[in-house]
Symmetry: C2
Subunit: 684 residues, 2 copies
């Protein structure tokens, strides 16, 4: 399951969809528009406002790209190991390998402060659609209306931040038909309490990823602090201590990263024929690059591991998505529905003018294809830092409402948290990544391109990358702080090689970004029309496409049939040991020593993983799964391979969300990790 | 080092170059046009006709894509383990893993018959340029002249085969300026005598591939049979038993697969900007595919291993080639020379008209770019068989001179050898490969393409591949034999799914092939002009670009400087053990048990690998290295990473050919592999 934002899935805007012919337990609902009617009719359940508020306030979002939940009154947070692994990697060194060895804080004083995590708790939601739309002039060009909309959003956000002191984000929903203001309480002092070994968390490795049955303790526990002390939490989830039953109703509260269910057939064809093949080429390229880097030795393997994992995960997810789109049946279904809607539109004089939106989306795909390879960035930690510092310096000189997204007053604190991260930066890894990015730039822009010639400075990509890495001081947090504090005057006179490089690419970066925003604005306008048309025909009451904001999904614990075989919804600890024995000698199929040592003391019948029909996607990783009573029963960590098409179409025929069982986590803590004390604090 | 023809490098025609401003020990010389003057002047050595004939007749070519040599009077043949590994793979099964475990025939009766090897000994060379050119009408269209040339070649070949009974190939040299008829004695009963473990042959794995220092026994010994008995050989190489000296003159007799040194700057830009990035995307895709397949388990890993190795090898080679082309200095050098030549042409009235050839090549690159993704093949063993059987049936109905290359009378025997190979075909692997090829076809042709729709038959790529594999009987050699014997009548009524599929794609395959041949004809004509112009200005006396035919290269044993460090030309057995100790626990860095057991009995000072400046490339793998006396001193198995640019430009500054030392092989046989008896036969 994807830490979606860590894995380049960020490319795309998250468009919204109204999904009126909902299928089964489909839906990622807004907390201010819950499917109460459906829940009552299908499952005889009526969530109260208190039930929903408590669940929302017990949920958190990780800025590293995942979800989590508060699980104790004194600040404990539960998420996935694979959501935390970015942090575990940053806390590791050649001598301390938290990824391989796991971690348990012996006392509270031993909890490890994470270098750059920000956790967000959603405090309130306010509809600001009218305020935003009022600022966008009718008949403005797409470029102007994009700027007007950006300014309106920045204004709403900064007013809110000023007034409440809370992080304030305006979220574009339903493809631009709705704008909601989300206010978050931020937690930035986050400490590591417990993580299992990767061998237990990611047992089965790449082979088992997105498969089921599974046997993984893909869990990590952190703690949020305020003023140097464990935060006192009013809202946290209590834990159910009984085994789950087949058919039980469950809820998932988390932050699905992105879905594209609103997409027209033309947009899906673009995904199928251009974008996903392009992204897959990119991912495979980076996968091989990281593998090759790892061949240098054990330390190199460790340094590249987290990135490699993210890439492999995304590659497998995209492969599944593409396979779905390449199945003629998928597209026939999508086309059938679209044809029906267009037919009905053509018969309805009031809606007829909306049909042009489908044409507009089709025309935009050709532009998006051109934009695919347009880039003036060189993906690597050092260049990213240089580029952001350079942009920040220039944006700071502008009025807040004219700034780029991400550089406004309301975003500043979160941005600085990233730019001043104390996470180690490895020169050798940076060099390899930069060399590959320079090579990619030559491939995309051509070797005779003016910028390429200027940037290579007469050297080949490898030699140039080596020079750049040796001539920058951005490894040093103090140097970054000094550049940021010095502002534009300081940045313009910097002779730091990476800053100079970022300055050279700045105009081109801004040009491409502007062009993208202009295209996105037209898309937004077209999808807003499509939403209008669709809801007029199929009715309202749906949910918007995922936007990496808090949503509620629901479903039932339920197995499925695969290749004529019935897959049970549950696995247990006995299955884990059996799976290891069945695959002895294969990569990533060994349980760690802690498990082998504890085999006799573990209750082998305890539920370990389970599947349910809830509608989730990358970004939901780490989401709590709760029962009707709002008690935690599981922890989302994956979707099976059949669920990968849920980016653009949900199906509960075989598609399933995969969770670690809550009682499985407790059993592992008590019987394998000698963490009885920690287990006893959970849910209290 | 690449088994070049196994690794998709076949895409390209092998163009010829005259290389007049030769640098250092540059050159892959024709055996009928040896650089006697250069050798005398530079090295004080004058090869006699006997010396050259003996070396030529002791050299063999492997149809699997490599070189070798006769090394005893009773038929022993030496080549690389990585040239033989295709055969070792075909001889292996779940219960007999020759790749991992190696092999030693206890007695002659135990030697293993290989399923489809053909070894070629070059018996004679005849210049047939005038005969070929006489058949090509002046002012014919490119399409017509391509057909006329093909017919002329088929005629010369079939007359020769009929007259001599020898395999007869007309080779296009110097970019179409010369045509030579090569006659080969074929050996098709080839048996495996000895192979080391891959851990010894490919010690260091992908990490050390194309690197130096190395410590590999990349060697395998086979034996050719005639009439069921070991062939009695007149020509074979005797072995030098003394250590080589630094600076010694050595010769390499082998079959370099392809170089592109004649290429114009426009052609190199096409390689840099389009073709190599495209091929690398392809290779990385297949590398991940094979890795993923291997995750299924040990047997799956074994099945995919040989193909994975070939892909990784090609990927690393192409990465190095691209890096060279992306270095602005490389292209500046090439452009400088081209500008000088064009300048001189413009000043010479007799040559002026030849300048158009450079323009023609430039114009052709755009067409080649279009052709890159044009394909009607689905690379997999089963489809390849079906396609070739289908083509053969149709071609057989035509007069010999109108047939496609590869389907003429003179090629028939070699083609049947391939089609009727008893090598195992694995349904699971075929299915995965076919599914990926179907997906690739959708990506390239679009999902709405008529052929794509027809071929998918309403299914997704995976499901369709599964159906195809389950509905074909081509696994069975008898079924193939029956189809071939039945000819077109039989093929047309076959309901074998793979044959039906090949028939559906046949017209499109022929259309694309014809278009390629037409473009190649125009390229040939242009490069023939360029050759004329260049030799008029820079003089003759060079060598043609590599064509996977026998060539002689020469060089000196010589270290080089890298990152300020002097690399010694020799390594020894002590170094191998040290290298393993230095990289303990890393993938492919363990010496096999046989080596660890023998450590005390091996003479650790014996030379193991060495480097020299000889001009080689993929296809040279397995070439014997001989001294002035014509005695074997080594076995080419790799080029270092700095030599990878030698596809288009030779440099001996750092570029080196890497060999196993002859005495190293003998020491390994005697002290590690308990093969004293075999060692004693060698060179006798």
């Amino acid at each position: 399951m994807s830490r979606i934002f860590a894995c380049l899935l960020m490319f795309n805007l998250a468009f919204a969809s109204l999904s009126p012919d909902l299928s089964g337990d489909e839906g990622m609902y807004l907390f201010n528009d819950l499917p109460t009617k459906t829940l009552k009719e299908r499952h005889g359940f009526e969530p109260t406002a208190e039930w929903a508020d408590h669940l929302r306030l017990s949920s958190v979002r990780f800025n590293s790209g995942g979800s989590g939940s508060f699980i104790s009154s004194d600040g404990l947070v539960l998420t996935n190991h694979h959501v935390a692994s970015d942090t575990l990697h940053k806390l590791s060194s050649a001598d301390r390998n938290l990824i391989d060895d796991g971690f348990l804080a012996a006392t509270q004083a031993d909890e490890l402060k994470t270098p750059d995590l920000e956790l967000n708790q959603l405090v309130s939601i306010e509809d600001v659609t009218d305020r935003i739309n009022a600022e966008v002039k009718e008949n403005a060009s797409a470029e102007d209306s994009a700027a007007q909309r950006r300014a309106a959003i920045a204004k709403v956000e900064s007013e809110s931040t000023e007034k409440t002191g809370l992080r304030s984000d305006v979220i574009t929903l339903f493809g631009g038909a709705r704008y909601h203001l989300y206010r978050y309480k931020k937690y930035t002092d986050v400490r590591l309490v417990w993580a299992p070994e990767t061998a237990a968390a990611f047992f089965g490795g790449d082979a088992d990823n997105f498969e089921y049955p599974r046997y993984n303790v893909d869990a990590t526990i952190m703690r949020v602090y305020e003023d140097g002390k464990p935060a006192k939490l009013e809202h946290f989830l209590s834990w159910n201590r009984e085994p789950l039953s087949d058919g039980e109703l469950v809820f998932v509260s988390g932050n699905p990263g992105r879905t594209q269910r609103i997409f027209t057939v033309a947009a899906l064809e673009f995904l199928r024929d251009s974008r996903i093949p392009y992204v897959l080429d990119y991912l495979r390229r980076k996968e091989i690059l990281m593998q090759q880097f790892g061949l240098e030795g054990k330390e190199a393997t460790r340094r590249a591991r987290d990135e490699l994992f993210g890439i492999q995960n995304a590659r497998k997810a995209y492969t599944g998505m593409l396979a779905g789109l390449q199945d003629p049946a998928t597209m026939a279904t999508k086309r059938g529905r679209e044809d029906r809607i267009l037919q009905q539109i053509s018969e309805n004089p009031e809606l007829q003018e909306l049909a042009s939106a489908w044409k507009a989306i089709e025309a935009i795909q050709a532009e998006k294809k051109e934009l695919l390879t347009e880039s003036a960035s060189l993906r690597s930690t050092l260049f990213d830092l240089a580029q952001q510092i350079t942009l920040l310096a220039a944006e700071d000189r502008k009025p807040n409402e004219e700034r780029l997204r991400g550089y406004t007053d309301s975003s500043r604190e979160s941005l600085l948290q990233e730019l001043l991260s104390t996470a180690p930066i490895y020169a050798d890894l940076e060099q390899v990544k930069l060399a590959d990015e320079l090579a990619r730039m030559i491939e995309h822009r051509g070797a005779d391109d003016r910028l390429v010639v200027e940037i290579l400075a007469g050297l080949g990509p490898r030699e140039r990358a080596a020079a750049l890495v040796s001539e920058t001081k951005l490894f040093d947090v103090d140097v970054r702080q000094e550049l940021i504090d010095g502002g534009l005057d300081r940045v313009l006179v910097s002779d730091d090689a990476m800053i100079v490089l970022a300055r050279k690419l700045e105009d081109e970066y801004r040009r491409i970004r502007k062009r993208n925003e202009e295209v996105e604005e037209r898309e937004r306008q077209a999808y807003a029309k499509i939403t209008r048309a669709t809801s007029a025909i199929e009715g309202t009451g749906g949910y918007p496409d995922a936007t990496f904001t808090l949503r509620l999904a629901f479903g039932t614990v339920k197995g499925y049939e695969e290749d004529g075989k019935q897959i049970d919804p549950f696995t247990n600890f006995a299955g884990a040991y059996q799976h290891a024995a069945d695959h002895e000698g294969q990569a990533d199929m060994d349980l760690p020593p802690s498990w082998m040592k504890a085999k006799d003391s573990v209750d082998l019948d305890t539920q370990l993983n389970f599947v349910c029909t809830a509608d989730i996607i990358g970004g939901n990783s780490g989401s709590p799964v709760v029962n009707r009573a709002g008690e935690l029963v599981g922890l989302i960590f994956d979707g099976n391979i059949q669920s990968l098409t849920s980016d653009y179409v949900y199906s509960d025929k075989q598609g399933r969300a995969v969770s670690v069982s809550g009682i499985g986590i407790l059993e592992a803590l008590r019987s394998i990790y000698n963490a009885k004390e920690l287990a006893d604090q959970i849910g209290k």
